[in-house]
């Protein structure tokens, strides 16, 4: 007699329940498909302060180009790199345009030049005449094997932000701080290790060291992609930098970023810090109480009359090879990066100086800022923009930076223990060792 449930389905009630749930879920998904993205162009960016103005500018772009729908997507900073890489690999869900952070850009230029996931922008730059209207040095990080794969979003000149109130209290005339020598002299007078430092400088992170390196025309790689991180300029920079962060005469220290940094500024633990344009906005937002007490000055020069700036950070906008309409993608780039009115508005919101020189003449770039003791932020940064050194990149740039970080921390440790004795030879050996490691990786590259 077959009439019980178990007779029809002897596997128990749980499997039948799973089957029913699966069936219901399938039916639900079939009737509620994921909304198809109907945008004709998709742009990925990793920075909220980029995405918001782009989204604001999208209706104007769409009105100018009827029938085109632009979708600006904000992707998390870390995820944008891995998602983009996965998209390139799988040739799936590749955006048409994407912004990539400068230190990650080089890793996308790996492999045969024809298989790089971005198109060469040189024809577009030449045809539009933009190649002469933007800061040339900013194309360097996105140039690889004679091709330009990215349009620079920014210039990121570097200045020195300082506690104006405390500097004045200490009787420092910033006009007289023309060279690092002048700055160090005052720094040694004011620094009290553990309580107060003249400047925020790291003894292990290569970020701060790089600015000194770039200021001296050094770098990790040259324009031909050759490794130069262990050349004489790097060695001289290292020997100059280490005593600033280690040993009895040090004037710099660091605590990290975020809340701890803002606390250090507020309490006067750091009297000054290296401040690219983007960081000036962070400071305004994170330490509103310091309004009117902060000011900016050009970076002291290596030698009197020398370069008064360097550079820190950057973003490129690339058009991917998967883009079906590169001309329209270029129009998007032009709209977002070279529309003067938009750039002016964006500068007010982000303090980021665009590389499009025509925009710098607009009033927005000349307005005094009360936070910065009524200095004209845009004018100050723009005046230094043409001096910004080029920084060349390579697929191994991140590895090179990591190795340089190791060199800095080991040299700082050596200097703390032995001082000047044998420091020259130790620094030279550590730099060479790091350079040789990178060369080992370069030799391994079959492309």
């Amino acid at each position: 007699m077959i009439n019980r449930f178990e007779d029809y389905f002897p596997f128990g009630k749980a499997p039948i329940l799973i089957l029913i749930i699966t069936l219901l879920a399938g039916i639900f998904l079939a009737f509620n498909p994921v909304e198809k993205n109907t945008a004709s162009l998709r742009l990925w960016t990793f920075a909220r302060n980029h995405a918001v103005p782009y989204q604001k500018a999208t209706p104007a772009f769409e009105a100018k180009h009827p029938g085109v729908r632009l979708d600006v997507q904000l992707v998390h900073g870390e995820a944008v790199t891995s998602r983009l890489r996965a998209a390139f690999w799988a040739d799936l869900d590749v955006p048409d345009l994407v912004e990539v952070e400068i230190s990650r850009a080089g890793s996308f230029f790996r492999g045969p030049v024809d298989q790089v996931g971005f198109i060469d922008l040189i024809p577009f730059l030449r045809a539009s005449g933009m190649d002469d209207r933007i800061v040339k040095a900013r194309l360097a990080p996105y140039t690889n094997r004679g091709r330009i794969f990215g349009l620079p979003h920014d210039v990121h000149p570097v200045m020195l932000a300082y506690r104006r109130d405390l500097f004045e209290e200490a009787g420092i005339d910033v006009e007289s701080l023309e060279s690092w020598e002048d700055f160090i002299r005052e720094g040694q007078r004011l620094t009290r290790p553990g309580e107060r430092y003249m400047i925020e400088l790291s003894d292990n992170n290569p970020g701060h060291f790089e600015m000194f390196l770039f200021q001296r025309n050094g770098g990790y790689f040259d324009a031909n992609g050759e490794l130069i991180m262990d050349d004489e300029i790097a060695l001289e920079t290292l020997k100059f930098f280490i005593p600033l962060v280690a040993g009895p005469r040090r004037i710099g220290s660091d605590l990290g970023s975020g809340r701890v940094f803002t606390q250090a500024i507020e309490t006067g633990y750091f009297l000054s810090f290296i401040c690219p344009d983007w960081r000036s906005k962070l400071v305004e937002t994170d330490i509103p109480r310091m309004a009117g007490k902060m000011a900016l000055m050009p970076l002291p020069a290596v030698m009197p009359g020398g370069r008064r700036t360097s550079t820190w950070g950057g973003t490129m906008l690339g058009i991917t090879s998967a883009c079906a309409d590169p001309e329209m993608a270029w129009e998007v780039a032009m709209h977002m990066y070279f529309d003067k009115e938009q750039l002016a508005e964006r500068f007010r919101e982000t303090n980021i100086l665009p590389p499009f020189k025509d925009a710098w003449e607009l009033p927005a770039f000349r307005e005094p800022r009360s936070y910065w003791s009524n200095q004209s932020l845009g004018k100050l940064y723009a005046e230094l923009a043409e001096q910004v050194p080029p920084q060349y990149t390579s697929p191994l740039i991140e590895t090179a930076k990591t190795k340089m970080g190791g060199v800095i921390s080991s040299c700082a440790a050596y200097y703390r223990e032995h001082g000047e004795e044998g420091f020259d030879a130790f620094s030279r050996a550590r730099l060479k060792e790091a350079g040789d490691e990178i060369r080992q990786y370069i030799r391994r590259n079959p492309y």
Binding site: Q115, G194, L255, G256, G405
Partner: protein
């Protein structure tokens, strides 16, 4: 008709039920495993651009200083896990197994609870605790021992690993304690009573009754901790702000694999690292099991 239905059901239903697992296993486990073996013989720039290099990836591992550093860091961490964490876990378990301790259930839960929150949360929490100048740890150390408050736990290459070990100690001591606690509770109480009659003290009891009694669980925990230690990734990755820390002091083998595979795009070298790690862990586990006499047959 009914007979045919039952015949088909009996024949095919088991296959249908195991099919989801088999499909998922073949797609997401077996295929990637086989593919990664093949990939380890190539230098790749993503899966589309590959150059066959034979065993060159494995040979390069022998000369790659970053890999050596990663192996050293990982071994150091694993060593500390086994020789610091597990004795601490066992000590806690013995303490909380004692009838003399009040509120044992509360403490058991309290010590176990850090494991519930996950490595990423713990890493974020401890990266705040380790902040120089304003961080909790430096403040407490300054209060207790007058040490300077600007110790850079995560900025000094010599302190990164101790910071990492301290963090994992907080996270895993309670977790391993649970295993030891279960094992201790399974040891026959009569053995202790008999040994007391024979005049054995606590140390001899521990050596001759407790340790042999929990041996199988201890071996299991040691092997598990070693394997877990060699897979270390999230903790340093989050604590060191998505980097390997100063002078690669927090670089682990899995992190190096990730950097090569997903940052540099060389899936071939990453596969070679992965398989080397797998063989290394297998070898160490076999040695551990051999030394602990797991395979010895009882007479």
């Amino acid at each position: 008709m009914k007979t045919l239905f039952f015949r088909l059901q009996h024949r095919y239903a088991p296959y249908i039920f195991v099919a989801p697992f088999v499909i998922l296993f073949l797609t997401f486990t077996l295929y990637p495993l086989v593919k990664s073996i093949l990939l380890s013989f190539y230098i790749t720039n993503g899966p589309q651009s590959q150059v066959f290099v034979g065993l060159a990836n494995f040979r390069f591992l022998w000369t790659d200083p970053a890999f050596h550093k990663a192996v050293w860091n990982t071994c150091l961490y694993a060593f500390c896990s086994v020789f610091l964490q597990l004795p601490a876990s066992l000590g806690l378990a013995m303490l909380l197994n004692s009838a003399l301790v009040r509120g044992r259930n509360f403490f058991r839960f309290a010590f176990f609870s850090p494991h519930l929150v996950g490595q990423v949360f713990v890493a974020v929490l401890f990266s705040v605790i380790f902040i120089p100048k304003f961080g909790l740890l430096n403040r407490v150390l300054h209060f207790l021992f007058e040490v300077p408050v600007d110790i850079k736990w995560l900025g000094n290459p010599n302190l990164v690993m101790p910071a990492m070990v301290l963090t994992s100690l907080w996270m895993y001591v309670g977790f391993n304690m649970i295993y030891f606690l279960a094992a201790l509770q399974a040891v026959d109480r009569e053995l202790y009573e008999a040994s007391m009659v024979d005049g054995a003290g606590p140390f001899r009891q521990f050596l001759h009754i407790t340790l042999p009694g929990i041996r199988s669980v201890a071996v299991f925990v040691i092997v598990l901790s070693t394997i877990g230690s060699f897979q270390l990734f999230e903790l340093p990755y989050v604590m060191l702000n998505n980097t390997a820390g100063p002078d690669d002091a927090g670089l682990t083998v899995v992190m190096y694999l990730y950097q090569n595979g997903f940052v540099s795009g060389d899936l071939g070298y990453a596969s070679a690292i992965g398989w080397s790690l797998a063989f290394g862990v297998l070898l160490i586990s076999l040695i551990q099991m051999r030394l602990s006499g797991t395979w010895k047959t009882e007479d």
